[in-house]
Symmetry: C2
Subunit: 288 residues, 2 copies
């Protein structure tokens, strides 16, 4: 273990769904820092954690989480992975957690940003330092330029710019961070359904004839909300994103370089090259 | 027939899908003006037109439409009803129409506004005067205020304002004109899929637990695009909208008074009252 890693102490990783949490855990561990895993009940998959030491985190049992994390010497904490909003009124609370959770309940009234900000504020008040996953594992940030062998053409570049402009105009509303654009025509906008569902919708609209953009045209564009706390909930892509883009018969994927997270980069690039789909880390504002 | 109606001559009504075209036809005819119906092949339902004189309009056979319309003495023309984009490359063209249709083909490259503007420009160049449906049947415009007995509460009014602000911010991108908002959280945004499909998605997200907003909360908000030519494609609601809103378990519907079209108003209001759903014609900018 390096002296720096030892000084920082173990890292508490609160794990949502998807492949990203364990990818981050491996990168942090490879750097010599101990990681304590807290997969979230009902969100993370039990089979993904079967081979590793972990403690299930129940949102309604906040105090239990805190006890384990502090006992393990965790001061730093990262929230990572996809979150589906739990229903507060379907949970059985323990009484000692209830006072703490009132913060979270209040945060539920707003959008996703409010919810996450509320949780982060709570954790900080309780003594944790909340970091972004990219601060402990900078390798997960998407770099500028092509990630695979396929290149966007001029029409694709115009669609990327159109999509980025659209997302910039709507970011203040704390809505989804993704849009599908073909020939400067918005085919789908992500809100509560998530990126995978939105891509499935585009595939259905192609099948039904509602969308007539030629096969292999159209781009999935993802960008962070301007109002977003960059420590968490940066837009992310993974191999499953490429599967969805391939089924929707799009040309490629554009995300904002340095402000997007990639899960399983090698697997993603291999899948994209195989499907002849471009993946670009672009810069906002200027042409990609 | 009134002198004014006689002077205007017969009206050509190009009919898309849904119940609105025949509602407009009846209103215009009740005012004493002759209406010549041109349902669009593949979009309008044959059974809806079985009892009335009509001429099917094929987009690929534009000249045939023009011959019939001019022979009937039609100078004024209205485009009305829902349009699903036809696929130009699946159509069999007649050669005399091909030159005319190049305008439409070019318009297909842009969004829906571009498509409709292109068609309108073509019709005007060919000698028609293109009117909005609300200009020949002003009764179809949604008035200001409640349309039924149910009233929005304070939370609903805040959601309506949030939705109108969102649609105003995105209108310049020629994207859908509708959004579902619950507790100032955007649940769904309409793009190419249409309002009915978007409402079905909200119902699915409730069923799967992805959307946890309490039953009976959330509002469907529809507004015209700021860039829109107000003569056609104004946002519309009908009895089917109420069905979708009821299935999505929302509190109500808000549209912009004077800039939205209502099909079968009496049936819609009866369905809304029955389902305890509010329907409001609101004004943009200010609180509803």
């Amino acid at each position: 273990m390096s002296a720096a890693a030892e000084q920082q102490g173990p890292l508490a990783l609160i794990c949502g769904g998807g492949s990203l949490p364990l990818a981050v855990a491996d990168l942090v561990a490879a750097g010599g820092r101990k990681v304590v895993l807290f997969p979230i009940t009902g969100v993370a998959k039990p089979e993904d954690y079967a081979q590793r030491p972990h403690t299930w985190m129940r949102i309604a049992k906040y105090r239990a989480f805190e006890r384990v994390a502090f006992a393990a010497g965790c001061h730093d904490l990262v929230l990572i992975g996809s979150m589906v909003r739990p229903s507060l009124w379907h949970l059985r609370f323990d009484w000692s957690s209830l006072a703490v959770l009132s913060h979270i309940a209040a945060a539920f009234a707003g959008g996703d940003n409010h919810l996450l900000s509320g949780i982060v504020r709570l954790l900080e008040e309780r003594g944790f330092r909340v970091l972004g996953a990219h601060e402990v594992a900078p390798e997960i940030l998407v770099p500028e330029g092509m990630l695979g062998r396929v290149q966007p053409n001029e029409r694709d570049r115009a669609d990327i710019k159109f999509g980025l402009d659209y997302l910039r105009a709507t970011g203040q509303f704390d809505v989804g961070q993704a849009v599908v654009v073909a020939n400067k025509h918005v085919l789908a906008v992500e809100a509560a359904e998530g990126t995978d569902q939105m891509l499935a919708r585009v595939a259905e609209m192609r099948a039904s004839g509602r969308v007539r953009a030629p096969t292999g045209s159209g781009v999935l564009v993802k960008a962070p909300k301007p109002t977003q706390d960059r420590r968490f909930d940066l837009p992310s892509i993974g191999p499953r994103t490429i599967e969805g883009v391939a089924r929707a018969e799009l040309a490629g994927v554009a995300v904002v370089a340095g402000s997007s997270i990639i899960a399983e980069a090698e697997k993603l690039v291999a899948a994209a090259d195989q499907a002849k789909i471009f993946v670009i880390g672009t810069t906002t504002g200027t042409s990609p």
